[in-house]
């Protein structure tokens, strides 16, 4: 049995819960009007649930990662810029890696997402860091794409009293 690095087990419970996007302090969403990120922790398993809204349309999608081992996620949900012709490949699996960093203040998620473009299906490498801000009431999510030179920076505020 291979010993797991300590960081893989040391989930930070402060990350768990519902986080609501502060749209005024974040990169502009495109084709979404609201975003709640709901984090659930279970041992090394991390569920990142996205409660999205576009006008009156609501959508919920969960990406599950594991800080102990790489996983494959079917229909990985990408908070996409919806006015770009980049589409999820239905049924495709996305390799996902996750790791706690910075004394479990940061969760790093890396995914290689198949994306349908107008020319072909191609991989997009997505690198995310979910960084807890001091006081644990705010969360910053920084997202890089292998295809985008400009980072996406999303700021969330903890929501209490809602699941």
């Amino acid at each position: 049995m291979t010993a797991l690095p300590l960081a893989a087990w040391a989930a930070n419970p402060a990350l768990a819960g519902r986080w609501r996007l502060d749209t005024k302090r974040s990169s502009a969403l495109d084709g979404w009007t609201a975003w709640d990120l709901v984090v659930a922790l279970d041992g090394t398993r991390v569920d990142l649930r996205h409660d999205m809204q576009w006008r009156s349309t609501k959508l919920t999608a969960t990406n599950t990662a594991d800080t102990a081992r790489p996983t494959n996620v079917k229909d990985f949900f990408r908070v996409e810029q919806r006015h770009m012709a980049l589409y999820q490949v239905r049924g495709a699996e996305t390799p996902v890696k996750a790791e706690w960093l910075d004394g479990e203040r940061t969760l790093r998620v890396e995914a290689v997402v198949p994306v349908e473009t107008s020319q072909a299906t191609v991989p997009m490498r997505i690198y995310q860091e979910l960084r807890l801000i001091e006081g644990d009431r705010e969360l910053v999510v920084i997202e890089l794409h292998s295809t985008r030179s400009k980072p996406l920076v999303y700021r969330f505020t903890k929501v209490t009293g809602e699941k």
Binding site: A28, G31, H83, V115, Q119, V122, S149
Partner: protein
């Protein structure tokens, strides 16, 4: 007989357009007189709406015989064309306008065209539409109780009073009663969907046209949540003449554009909006000026062959009807731009088309749309209606010297996101119906219907410029598309929402990475036909659909 007259009038307009396409000596038109009113922007039910309703109903009656009354709207009105077109009528048609400053003045001049008045009840919103229907059929002006004394002072008598008749009834009940009373006398080549703004503000600026043409007015819902209204709407659509037109716009309070356009398309009808498009009763009475010929700014000849280089080709198109938005905003002419022309205006508003043509720069190319001779969703057009509709579109495109057709089917979309694709059957039909175009473009928001047959490419938008999106993010989005679509040539078709301006797009283009060339949309399609680096794709039945239809 009435319908025959309308048909004949339509034929005259088309014939006029065809004649305009021929070379003819320029003539200075004989001077003619008309009147103009300047409206303010107050459309509140408790504010300026009642007077505007009175005036547009009067306009519809006054303009029945000849074009007498034109309305100029403020610069921030959605249809920004009214003032430029006012100037155009003076300059090119020799119209000498006299300003009418007040409703009282308008009644003094034009009350003689009315036989009486009908009273609507603002507390029962649907009575406005019932009153408009009566106005068209019985030559009435439409008033509230507070305006009765004013119109009676001009000799008008009461024709009907809707106060109390419909109190407590649903819209379905009200319109059902109106159908029983009036539908048999209404036009069958067209119907007026007078929806749009609802509640405290309403904007029925298109009512003059419906009254002039004796249309049935309603704002029945196409939302399946309102089954009684949907059922009645279907009954009416089923009784319209083949290839009839639904003027106006859906109610913002009841249903969506996607739902209503889907519904009317299933009957082989087409939409001509919006509900606040003004002055059609005036505009329809002018033809193209003598000697005028549409000569589009083609970037490439129909039979030319181009070869794409290993670079990114980008084309901009605006499709929200040419009369609103970007055309009048700063910077037009600085970039090659395709402009979707509402081709039906050849019949209803030829002067407006001539104005756009006259003020076009060499970078402005007109393309046909939207999906055909009017706004329709082709995935839902019955097979037996598709051919006749597109035959009309071909004729209108020939008049307008257009070589590119824009298609849009948002029946399964969610506003400007989601599924905007065409089925293979629909694509097959377009290729069969338009053998002589350079190509087709598809979508509103992004879409993924693409094809290439012989030399005709069909390309969907890869990007939609949301006017609210920060410009640096738009540039980043476009650069990401350029990066991820790594094969060259890459054909990047961009839809520009009407409320953008060209100057901001110029700044965005300066931030693009790589070898990018911005080309006119016709050149774009020719190049796309030379090297298919894009996939062939149609709507997949498994693709998500926001609205699944009726």
């Amino acid at each position: 007989m009435r319908r025959l007259i309308i048909v004949l009038v339509g034929v005259v307009f088309i014939a006029a357009g065809l004649r305009a396409a021929e070379t003819a000596p320029a003539k200075v038109p004989a001077p003619r007189s008309a009147w103009v009113m300047h409206f303010d922007g107050d459309w509140r039910v408790v504010g300026g709406l009642p007077e505007k309703i009175l005036l547009v109903s009067l306009q519809g009656l006054a303009n029945r015989g000849t074009a007498q009354l034109y309305v100029v709207h403020p610069k921030d009105f959605q249809w920004e064309i009214t003032e430029p077109l006012f100037e155009f009528y003076q300059r090119k048609h020799g119209v000498v306008f006299t300003e009418v400053k007040t409703a009282e003045g308008a009644l003094t001049l034009f009350a003689k065209h009315a036989k009486g008045y009908v009273i609507w009840e603002p507390a029962v919103p649907a009575t406005m539409n019932v009153a408009f229907t009566i106005a068209g059929l019985d030559d009435a002006v439409v008033v509230t109780a507070d305006q009765v004394a004013q119109v009676e002072s001009h000799g008008l008598k009461k024709i009907d009073d809707l106060r109390g008749r419909y109190t407590g009834q649903t819209d379905a009940q009200i319109y059902r009663d109106a159908v029983t009373r009036y539908w048999a006398r209404c036009a069958r080549d067209a119907i007026m969907l007078m929806g749009g703004h609802a509640g405290a503000v309403r904007m029925p600026a298109m009512a003059d046209w419906g009254i002039r043409q004796k249309m049935f007015f309603h704002d029945l819902s196409a939302n399946p949540k309102h089954p009684e209204e949907v059922a009645l709407g279907k009954e009416l659509f089923a009784q319209l003449d083949p290839l009839g037109t639904v003027f106006g716009w859906h109610s913002y309070a009841k249903d969506t554009e996607e739902q209503h356009t889907t519904l009317l398309s299933t009957f082989g009808l087409r939409m001509e909006g919006l509900h606040n498009l003004p002055n059609l009763s005036f505009n329809c009475q002018f033809t193209f000026t003598p000697g005028f010929k549409f000569t589009n700014n083609h970037g490439v000849a129909l039979d030319a062959k181009l070869t794409a280089e290993k670079k990114v080709y980008l084309a901009f198109v605006q499709s929200d009807s040419i009369g609103i938005g970007v055309w009048t905003k700063p910077g037009r002419g600085k970039l090659p731009f395709g402009w979707q022309v509402t081709m039906n205006w050849t019949k209803f508003s030829p002067a407006a088309l001539e104005y756009f043509h006259e003020s076009a720069t060499k970078n402005d190319t007109f393309i046909g749309g939207l999906s055909g001779p009017g706004y329709l969703y082709p995935n839902h057009i019955p097979a037996d209606k598709f051919g006749p509709l597109m035959a009309e579109a071909r004729k209108l495109m020939a008049v307008l010297d257009e070589h590119v057709l824009e298609i849009m089917d948002n029946s399964a979309a969610d506003g400007n996101v989601g599924n905007a694709d065409l089925t293979k059957e629909t694509v097959d039909r377009y290729y069969a119906a338009f053998p002589d175009v350079i190509g087709f473009i598809n979508g509103y928001g992004p879409a993924r219907t693409r094809d290439l047959r012989d030399s005709r490419a069909m390309i969907s938008y890869d990007y939609y410029v949301d006017p609210r999106r920060p410009r640096d993010e738009v540039a980043a989005d476009l650069n990401e598309l350029i990066a991820i679509n790594a094969k060259r040539p890459y054909f990047l078709l961009v839809h520009v929402r009407e409320s953008n301006d060209v100057n901001s797009l110029v700044e965005i283009t300066k931030q693009l990475d790589g070898p990018v060339e911005i080309v006119p949309v016709d050149v774009f399609l020719k190049l796309a036909a030379s090297n298919q680096t894009y996939t062939t794709r149609y709507q997949d039945p498994e693709d998500p659909k926001h609205f699944k239809g009726f």
